[in-house]
Subunit: 380 residues, 4 copies
């Protein structure tokens, strides 16, 4: 790349967690420079945050609509905006920037309703702008390799998919004692109607779909809230059925005492099975039917998809930030390809987009519908 | 013990798998001597098997009914019979020996219908005879310790239970190519209407109930057969609900390519979580809410239940056969206690019995009922 | 086998640890019956122990010499004696029984000096009697498979061997507070001049030699005692050199806080590497040079040596007692072969014998010599 | 920090591996901007590399001496230089920049002789400039926490230290077939007299010293070359003795087939033991004497040292690049502290410096001296 892409950010002011992660991810592979922001809805905090990030004060905006307009009008305006606000603002902010012709990288979940999400997908398509959605875990080399293995038939026909995402940080009512993260994530007005379901359930759903290349056709759900006084779900589980007859189980829980961030996937096909655990992301376990289990490691295997998403030799662990950075790198590759009218590297097309977001919202709707119907099987 | 208990066996002739395991388990702690048998319904094979096992030929019977009668009549008749026939014979054989006043140790599942099982339980109670059911996995020291931890409140209120039992040996139609084990286990006439469900699903159900001390009150099931031409299920899964509001997932699969005998349990409560994997039975993972994970090991922890079920120091692995032997040891302790009119050691009371068998048959019925009703939630 | 072998035991009376393990191991595969014993040098304890083991009182001896003589004279005398006394008695007891023409199964170490051990080896050869030495860890199926892999060249030329045996039970002076095991094992009069070195260092040495098929030609040692007041070493380490240029490291420690029974082996050759950990004995890790690591498991691999030493299917863990029992089974197979003048199964020849014991004593001598010479390299 | 530090780089042009890692590490926490370079001794490659990195062409130098002079003379000259040349240039380059009053961050090993290294240490002290040495592995949060645990006495007195660093990438003579990395690292003229010893042996030595706070007082070495035709060692091992009586083993091998980057440390004290494996850097295993093993994880434990070196919550793996970046961050904190005459955060003082480099060279000298004296024990 001849130049770094110019990036703006909406949200992510002082005290925010995920904004800092996005900036780090953008920085890691040196494809972006942050030049503008509407970092907070509180003007004082917005200005202080901008100063800390060494932004030109004239490009620190109090309102994202102003920012979209102003940046679109500049010759050196931003190429892309990163959206890291609470969930309920994702759609309005993304809409403003897409309308202004600016590419979008948006934190997940995409939106707080399926209709909202579908409108965004349509808009992105109409405006021909990239709309990346940061489903971080699909940035891991071994997740991409798993997808590749299945795509080329190494597992045969998929029969059983198990995905679980277990955390314990909401096992007690921490939102009632000032935990900011917990506060907005359990407030339906800010996070949408789905709590754990939207926050991590969608990650689980997306990971299974990303790796298998399959979306369940039906599900039967149990959406539950354990912690007294909590206004959103904190534990959800479902049985899954796929069009080819495959079966699946999905569970996402934020009350699973003792678990940190246990996103685990297991896929069994007619020819082989595989296992991936997010907490050990440099390895993938693969077992041919009746054969011996092999530990596949990033960098050691022969895999274009994994190689594309890796920076250092095997045995030198890469982690969550590198997976996140991979999404930013792939977004940059695609934006530059569009700008220069050249093809993007095929491996960069594994980037997750607004379409993954729509799929996630569809999953949420199906879960809530099944729940409303006493756990009946419903189509997705 | 002043003398070894005299044991008979029904089933378990040459070529049988589980009979040899029972004999080994009976031998390990030196509480039994095998003195009689109806080892095969084929007289030639019965005689050859008896000779190989060095039985007195006069105590090798062609029919289990004759054996029950004859042994009951001898002054030195058997104290206890081990039943290791195909499933459909468990109930008639057990009935014959209970009627003759002989204690029973029976392989699982208990019977092929709930009614049959309930009748056995009633009979055992009426005849005041021990009816041990070999749910092997509850013989592991760390499983017993897990039960103890939960019983004394270390996990707080249980919220989420995940149990899975995954194998791959039936991933292809091996029953059609002469595999004897596969043959009878997939034949409804011999194994009952439940395939994988009865064979290993009941183990999963029992393990979760044994450790948590809780039985789900409702379940919603998906009972499936993957392998074309197979006459019983080979993959079952269910969502569970408990009376206290806890949720659970259960899966048992014999088509999970790459898996050997992966019986894994995970329990999360308000105060802590724990994990156990049958393939690494000498350890149990325990994590207090918000705290660090600890690896508890057999022999190193202070646990009467685990100590009772262990023979050698920590770091010297015990395995499946020792767990199996533990059931035999506990049965011997209880039989001798009854014979001598003394109390059995309290730890021996963790032995699984006909009641566990009835619970398992209830589980099978509920699964099949939910399946018949399109996966609706049904009471257990 | 038409009949069980008749076995006697010297040592192993009430309160002894290893005697009970030997009996259990002998029982497991049903090849032996215990019919005679000199179970304790204390006559009261000898008699009580014999009663508990249901021995014919006339075959409970107060002195092992009487026992050897009397049993040799009986038509139904013992075929084989198991020796489970403290170390300093191994040689005199074994000598008495060999002289009487009785096969020997002896706990390790073989003797308390190399000369003593060499004399035993010569005597066993002269009397044409089996002299099995229970190096338990060589009874594990995956250890035997590892040996086979190397023997058939899968690792290429061996370059680096690392073996460690770490325990923590002697990290404090427990022998001073009445621990019986610790007492005799740290008393040079009973255990010989080597403490940790003889007790577990010889296991480490033997395991490396058994698997690689190679014995180091030189070593440089550091033999140390950490615990104040202890009369034998409790931590030993050495660098090794092999005739083919390979290098090795050996460490045995009984003060390695936090370790239970960590006997770990790692072998690297020009073509591949492998790893084994005694605490997870059902698996062996194998990595071809530049390739991916594979988890080989007992029962799933195609290996005559492993199959010979296994009883139950993969995924059903076997452990220490089964490994121990394997030595007894192999001894039985060889004794019966000799009695019936038929060839023993080739896999049974992996049994460890008096020659392994002599090799271990040579190792001890070399370690002590190097230590005496300030850690100089000495020939083995 | 009000501004990013201005950084120059010597070495690290196109095709170099470690230069890119340094730049990424410098970028990750946003404390540096790269503004000048002498990226290659080949002027064409230097210019091309500078363009690729978007350097001002007037600050791309053909010679590091020119660069040191010119940058020292500029008002906006670099604050710090990163040295990523082959080993033999570390000392001359560092000398030039220190003489010019510029802080230094240097890849390891520090120099190719102890005298050279000691001169650098003296010069840095005299010029009062920071001299950071990138011993990456000491940047891991769990390594720092391990150091803290030992420093505050949680392990008691240290008794046994085992450190191993195993790779397999030089198991065959890859330097003879054009592997650039292998080429210079096995060329004594570029890498110095120590091959594996200098490349990874020093890492092992440093890690053990960093965590324990102890340096061995004596060692006995075996320095070996396995691959025919190789001009430097590729496998080294040593026994260690500490002033307090502790024992240790160190091995570094680049021919350990099957190993990627296995830097493993084990420390046992009178009160507890711990284990760390670089390939799983988010965890540390801790076992109190006689107690249960606990898995300590980054972010979940209460540790100022670990918290200082971590960016994201537990369960979100950090890796090698973050550890590397930590060194850059600590260097920045110390440089800014000096520039602003304020105290640096105490946690930043865990940064490894020229003194670690001197210690490493002393280790190399001792290893070579012991080797020259047939493995005799020599003082360090």
């Amino acid at each position: 790349m001849n130049r770094r892409l110019r990036m703006g950010m909406v949200g992510g002011g002082q005290g925010a967690f995920i904004g800092a992660v996005h900036r780090l991810a953008a920085r890691l592979d040196d494809c972006y420079e942050l030049v503008a922001g509407a970092l907070s809805s509180d003007p004082t905090r917005a200005a202080a945050s901008a100063a800390e990030l060494r932004l030109d004060p004239t490009r620190s905006y109090g309102d994202y609509r102003d920012m979209a307009r102003a940046e679109a009008a500049r010759a050196d305006g931003i190429d892309v905006v990163a959206i890291v606000t609470p969930n309920h603002l994702h759609a309005p902010v993304a809409t403003a920037f897409l309308e202004a012709g600016i590419h979008v990288i948006c934190d997940k979940p995409l939106a707080v309703s399926l209709a909202e999400g579908q409108a965004l997908a349509a808009l992105a398509r109409r405006k021909q702008r990239l709309f990346a959605l940061t489903h971080t875990y699909s940035g891991y080399p071994m997740v991409r390799h798993a997808r590749e293995l299945i795509a080329r038939g190494e597992l045969g026909d998929i029969r059983y998919v198990h995905v679980e995402y277990l955390q314990d940080w909401l096992a007690s009512p921490v939102e009632q004692s000032g935990n900011k993260q917990a506060g907005w994530r359990t407030d339906p007005a800010l996070a949408g109607p789905a709590g754990c379901l939207g926050d991590i359930g969608t990650h689980a759903w997306q990971l299974a779909a990303f790796v298998t290349g399959l979306t369940p056709s039906e599900l039967a759900a149990d959406v539950h809230t354990f912690v007294p006084g909590r206004r959103v779900d904190d534990h959800v589980q479902a049985m899954l059925r796929y069009a080819n007859g495959a079966r699946g189980l999905l569970v996402a829980s934020q009350i699973a005492s003792g678990e940190e961030n246990a996103l685990n996937l297991r896929v069994h096909g007619t020819r082989a099975g595989l296992r991936f655990s997010q907490e050990s992301p440099n390895e993938l376990w693969f077992t041919p039917q009746g054969g011996e289990t092999t530990r596949l490691t990033r960098g050691r295997i022969d895999s274009p998809a994994a190689a594309h998403a890796t920076r250092i030799p095997p045995g030198h662990p890469e982690g969550y930030l590198e997976a996140f950075a991979q999404l930013y790198r792939d977004a940059a590759l695609q934006i530059v390809a569009q700008q220069t009218n050249t093809p993007a590297p095929p491996e960069s097309l594994m980037l997750t987009t607004v379409d993954d977001g729509v799929a996630g919202l569809r999953f949420i709707e199906a879960m809530l519908e099944s729940q409303a119907r006493q756990g009946a099987w419903v189509g997705v």
